[in-house]
Amino acid sequence: MPPLAKATHATPASPASSAFPAFPYTEHDLARFRATQQLAYDCAEQVAAWIEPGVTERQATAELRRRLVAAGVQDFFHVPFAWFGDRTAFRHFHTPLQFFAGNRRLEEGMPYVLDCAPIVDGYTADIGYGGKVGENRVWDRLAADLKVYRELILTEVRARRPLNEVYAAVDAQIAAHGYDNRHQVYPGRVIGHQVTRTTVRGPAGVNVFGFGVRTLQTLGRELISERLHGRSPLWADGRSSRHAPTPGLWAVEPHIGFRGVGIKFEELLVVTEDDAYWLDDDLPHVRRWTTGSATAPATASTAAEPTDTLEATR
């Protein structure tokens, strides 16, 4: 879940002045970020195992928070979120307040999404976990296809394509799949945002509109400094993202939907000066694809070879 702030329109600076910052993290830092992300996904999986029909979104977020705190989390980048049923696809969302967990009860066959952002010693994770209770064929299809987006984003960022163009490539893939782009419902339409080590000294645990005070302080500082360089710490499809990927850590969260079902993942992408990779491949959604239990993802729709005869295909 991205911060609930609008991406400010940066004035594109001339390429010469927008010298990229050096990659700011050591191996040790990366290991700490990885550990926080593992911890977050671990708690999400625990809640997924605990969750059952009848549970409300609020109960789920409370459980998630309880487990995170028990695991040693001191502060949150944002409060935990949980969406059930067609709220996973953000259907009928009109105000940002609707993102907050509500009284929707989980029912058999419903999809759900958990989203949390714990901070441990200033190392932030921001994760999204999609699940379902019982049978849901649409969810199965979406969950399998999510793989295509993880690979696409990495390929595009590695090629150092401007972030708004990566966003457009993701959109084109969503259209080819026949899905809806649901990350565009997030404030600022963002598909991702930069994550840094929070070093400020605000009161921990206090939050404004769902975002920790420390988060907002850090974010404000980032917004200002990045803006000076014609870059944005928020990754969207507008002009402010018309720049090559900034070295650092990005929480990337493609969120796709079909009819009443939505799914996302959110995890940290490491962008160095000349390369990029996902911080960790040992995550629940990746394991789902590699254990082969999921359906094979539908590949990008490419034009079929012209065939002379009529073909029955199914």
Partner: protein, 574 residues
């Protein structure tokens, strides 16, 4: 070669009944009950068709054909006729309940059997054509007489006007005399002229005069007593009601409220007359019975409206076509999509199968007439005759008249106009031949009535589709096939990325495509809303549907102030 028909005799109520069997006795039994003034021969086509996978049993009802004749009027009472039916069923299928198909008087007497207490143990399903339960009809009359709203009165008058012969049949001497003095001889002509039944050697039966005169007793023995004091006759048996749109004798609204008596009711419509349904559209009726018995034998539940419909969408791999296919699938329809881009069409079919019944994809170029004919044949063979055909595939093109080359003209007309012509011809023929009616949706455009110097070829092709649909509608109404023209407006689809522009270089063209794509995206009207409009048009039969507000406004302007639009056409809009 026709398989042999085995004849046997079953005794019931002291009379011999002539019973005719064909098909594999191990297959599900379907019992056919004929009406007045027919014999079992009226089922010849349908019996032959059903015998492919059913044990088909027909009999001559008492007083007709080769069966015995009751001594008096009491022998024609409904109770006795129902008893005959059960006797035949018990003789030919002692261990398994039978499926029932009945027409006209056969249907009236079958209702008597179907509504008998415990009938569900002997009758697996009942398909009824043109013959209500007299008890239900009695309640129907009472209800309308008690509440004479204008609508009810209209229905009463209409049915009364179409039931004159019933009254005539009650007059002494008259009806028998008419049959004897010439109606029997004239019957083939009556059927040909009023019912559009092609005369054939073995029909009507040679015993017609005798059968017709005796059968009058059916009316005299039953109408007054049953209609006068109707009984409460519900049934558990699943019933399929085939309503004939051109039936001269049974008004379609006679079945209004039938659900009160038949909780498990499936309604079908056939575009045929009282007799042409059996004698001209036998294959269609047999198909309906086959579908119904198969569903019942599988223990299938009653489908909702729209469920199980077969819908074909061209250009279903993207945009409006994909959204329409998915909306129909969600509504329970079996969807077949075609597209030039097979992978895209397959993707649509896959998504459709997730939210509805199994869907199918084919690679077809709509501008290729022979390929479209082959496509229609394949669809008919593998999935059946479509209920809805959506001619959606189309391409965008921009250019003034002098800029547009002959080749560009050809391409636009080939896809946008010829594609629709081929679709209407190939699938319209299937629909008309089947007699089940249907609906054709042609996706035109607001450009059809919104001239622009920059869209000459595109607008011309879409205006042609608009007029084609208007003409087609007038012709197809006679076949029970509706035609709707859809004029979307500016809809956010892939069309902008594939549209071509006359007199531009490749680079200019992609810049223009990008600009158009941006404009369409900013307009942000989703193809799903066009799909909803298409489903509504099919449901309501609306002839012309502009979808977006701008498409509606333009349509209004084109009628109020065409001169203004002619002026606006001069604007440069690319």
């Amino acid at each position: 070669m026709t398989p042999p028909v085995r004849r046997r005799t079953v005794h019931s109520g002291g009379l011999p009944l002539a019973v005719f069997e064909q098909g594999d006795p191990a297959a599900p039994t379907v019992l056919l009950v004929h009406g007045y003034p027919d014999t079992h021969a009226v089922w010849d086509d349908i019996a032959a068709d059903l015998a492919r996978d059913h044990h088909v049993v027909r009999y001559d009802v008492r007083g007709a054909g080769e069966s015995g004749v009751p001594a008096d009027r009491a022998g024609y009472r409904l109770e006795q006729l129902a008893e005959d039916l059960f006797a035949v069923a018990d003789a030919v299928s002692p261990d398994r309940p039978v499926h029932l198909l009945a027409h006209d008087w056969g249907s009236i007497q079958s209702w008597e059997a179907v509504t008998a207490p415990g009938a569900e143990h002997r009758i697996a399903s009942y398909t009824t054509v043109s013959g209500p339960s007299l008890d239900h009809m009695g309640h129907w009359l009472r209800h309308r007489l008690r509440r004479p709203t204008p609508r009810h009165l209209r229905q009463l008058l209409h049915q009364g006007a179409h039931s004159w012969y019933i009254t005539a049949f009650h007059l002494p001497f008259l009806a028998p005399a008419v049959w004897r003095l010439g109606l029997a001889r004239a019957w083939p002509r009556v059927l040909r002229d009023l019912e559009h039944v092609t005369p054939r050697a073995d029909h009507p039966q040679r015993s017609l005069r005798r059968d017709a005169v005796r059968g009058i007793e059916l009316y005299r023995a039953n109408f007054r007593p049953t209609l006068g004091s109707p009984r409460e006759r519900p049934t558990e048996v699943p019933v399929q009601l085939i309503t004939l749109t051109r039936d001269r004798y049974v008004g379609t609204y006679l079945s209004e409220g039938l659900e009160r008596w038949v909780p498990n009711l499936t309604r079908r419509t056939l575009h045929a007359g009282h007799w042409s349904a059996l004698l001209e559209k036998g294959a269609t009726v047999a198909g309906m019975v086959r579908e119904f018995t198969a569903r019942i034998d599988k223990g299938g539940a009653q489908p909702a409206e729209g469920e199980g419909r077969l819908v074909v969408v061209t250009g279903g791999g993207s945009g409006i076509g994909r959204a329409t296919a998915l909306a129909f699938a969600e509504d329970g329809a079996r969807v077949v999509v075609c597209d030039l881009d097979l992978a895209a069409a397959e993707r649509t079919a896959e998504l459709a199968s997730l939210i509805g019944p199994q869907a199918h994809a084919y690679r077809v170029d709509v501008s290729d007439g022979a390929a479209m004919d082959a496509f229609a044949q394949t669809v008919a063979a593998e999935h059946g005759v479509p209920d809805v055909m959506v001619n959606n595939a189309g391409i965008g093109h921009s250019g003034t008249f002098l800029q547009t080359t002959e080749k560009e003209w050809q391409r636009v007309l080939d896809v946008n106009l010829w594609g629709v012509i081929h679709g209407c011809r190939a699938f319209g023929t299937l629909m008309a031949d089947s007699g089940q009616g249907g609906h054709i949706v042609n996706v035109s455009s607001a450009a059809a009535y919104l001239p622009s110097k920059a869209l000459t070829a595109y607008a011309t092709s879409k205006a042609a589709v608009f007029m084609l649909s208007d003409c087609l509608r007038a012709e197809f109404v006679g076949h029970g096939i509706g035609v709707s023209t859809i004029c979307p407006g500016i809809v956010n689809t892939n069309i902008t990325r594939t549209s071509t522009f006359s007199a531009t270089t490749a680079v200019e063209q992609s810049a223009k495509q990008a600009r158009a794509a941006k404009l369409y995206a900013r307009r942000g009207f989703p193809p799903e809303k066009v799909a909803t409009a298409i489903l509504t048009a099919v449901r309501t039969g609306k002839p012309v549907v502009p979808v977006t507000p701008e498409a509606k406004a333009a349509r209004l302007l084109s009628r109020l102030s065409p001169g203004l639009l002619r002026l606006a056409a001069r604007l440069n809009v690319t």
